[in-house]
């Protein structure tokens, strides 16, 4: 909806949709201060009756060539800071998505392998949910990073260490029958 007037004091007068009961923060390349204002208004109006949900906390989205753009986590943090509230995060490493999978399919964690390239999302979720974890090195993580966590005394860092790693998931092929 168009915002009345050019300034935040004007935007704060725009009518709020009475039916809104949740603010959902996802990846938004059109994120703006105006949207942040509106999110804050809904959260203050609703208090605990208005949910604050974030799709994930990734800091950065890597692009080809080694650069990266800001991730959803940045936008979630902006809303959380303004509202002085913590968002419920759907994505890894939180377990909600695993719970969704389990409710749809009959998963035995002891016989399920989580395969991912990120320690603080994929591997952490897998470890937290009792899955066997397999790191592939075709993505953002290097073996040196893993070694650093493995050698650390910190239990939080230890939970980032996968059970196994491969250079690429193609390396799994020989183990599978014809």
């Amino acid at each position: 909806a168009a915002l009345p007037g050019p300034s935040p004091a004007d935007w704060a007068q725009a009518p709020l949709d009475p039916a809104v009961r949740a603010v959902l923060v996802g990846f938004d390349e059109h994120f703006s201060y105006a949207k942040l204002c509106q999110a804050l208004r809904y959260l203050l109006r609703g208090g605990p009756d208005c949910l604050l949900v974030g799709t994930n906390r990734d800091h950065r989205l890597p692009l080809e060539g080694g650069t990266a753009i800001p991730g959803t986590g940045c936008l979630v943090k902006a809303v959380e800071t303004a509202a002085q509230r913590e968002a419920f995060i759907i994505g890894k490493p939180n377990r909600y998505m695993f719970d969704c999978v389990v409710s749809e399919f009959n998963i035995d964690p002891a016989r399920t392998i989580m395969v991912g390239d990120r320690l603080d999302t994929d591997i952490l979720m897998g470890n937290s949910c009792g899955l066997t974890t397999l790191l592939t090195l075709t993505g953002v993580t290097t073996l040196d990073e893993v070694k650093g966590h493995q050698e650390s005394d910190c239990p939080a860092r230890q939970s980032l260490v996968p059970d196994y790693y491969v250079d690429s998931i193609a390396d799994l092929l020989p183990a599978l029958g014809d």
Partner: protein, 313 residues
């Protein structure tokens, strides 16, 4: 009389009657926050202009220290006048916009006008409005334009400055992160405020929320110029040489103004015409946490007009 922000916890006593004279009498000067203390929106707090006038007549200094990074000190001088405050000049006003510019001038240009390597200190990418941009320019720094490539042939960007930016966008966030990939590029924020009150009781997001986005994307921690950090007090001392043991800090926000006073060794007075409620101060006082105790003011008043009886006729 209570200790001046040194050892021991403050006890949040109402200032009135004889206590008022005991506290104000020895004070050489007062530092005032502006929003929620002197004015709320376009309306002066009733009695505030008279208080400043009485301070002047009592020979006590009044200086102003504000986290608001929207306006230049020249605009603030006009605002004081428009709202009925007499005799306040730009040189008395320390805003986070001004102090961020002074900070960047120190860090990028050093003592003189050169970065020490002949490049003139480099450019500053500012996330903020015209008031903030003007202060940065007035400090002798050059601004990076918007929509430029992160690594161009132009002079390198040596600092990203995050202020109150109601035109903040994802694109600007991405551009800031591009500059911050250079570990030599500073990340500076004007203030940490998460939100500001609007006159109808609603809130608008503050610099703190934008800084959180930039910090998360860049993996860097910002240097925060504004209260409760003490840099703005250093600027005040450099220009006016105030004695903290004879200076009172008056503010409306416990987490910024009162903590700032504590950090600078000033006795603090909370005024209730702004953000913080008395119950919040009392909750901090009752808390077990050492950090919470630093947020308790020495004194409180319902409004700064209540200070008037403490001054000589």
């Amino acid at each position: 009389r209570e200790g001046c922000g040194g050892g021991g916890m403050a006890s949040c006593r109402r200032l009135s009657g004889a206590g008022l004279r005991e506290v104000l009498g020895p004070a050489q000067g007062l530092l005032f926050d502006c929003d929620g203390v002197l004015w709320a929106g376009e309306r002066a707090v009733p009695g505030a202009p008279e208080l400043l006038e009485r301070l002047r007549r009592s020979g006590k200094a009044a200086l102003f220290v504000s986290n608001n990074s929207r306006r230049s000190v020249a605009e603030l001088e006009r605002r004081f006048s428009r709202l009925g405050f007499r005799g306040v000049r730009a040189e008395h006003v320390f805003s986070s916009a001004l102090c961020s510019a002074l900070f960047l001038r120190q860090r990028l240009l050093g003592g003189g006008g050169d970065g020490g390597n002949g490049t003139g200190g480099g450019r500053v990418f500012v996330l903020g409005g015209e008031g903030l941009r003007g202060e940065v320019r007035d400090a002798g720094l050059r601004l990076a334009g918007e929509g430029e490539p992160a690594a161009g042939a132009a002079e390198p960007v040596r600092a990203v400055l995050v202020g109150y930016d109601d035109q903040f966008t994802f694109a600007k966030l991405a551009q800031a992160c591009g500059y911050l990939r250079d570990p030599q590029c500073l990340l500076v924020a004007t203030d940490p405020d998460p939100w500001h009150p609007l006159s109808d009781g609603q809130r608008t997001p503050g610099t703190g929320s934008l800084t959180a986005a930039v910090e998360t994307a860049s993996g860097r921690k910002a240097l925060v110029v504004g209260k409760p950090n003490t840099y703005m007090f250093d600027c005040i001392v450099e220009r006016f040489g105030v004695d903290p043991s004879r200076t009172l800090m008056v503010g409306d926000r416990l987490e910024t103004d009162i903590l700032f006073g504590k950090n600078c060794g000033l006795s603090t007075i909370l005024t209730l015409t702004g953000v913080s409620r008395l119950e919040e101060a009392q909750a901090y006082m009752a808390s077990d946490s050492a950090a919470a105790k630093d947020l308790v003011p020495n004194y409180y008043v319902d409004s700064i007009a209540d200070l008037i009886p403490g001054l000589d006729e």
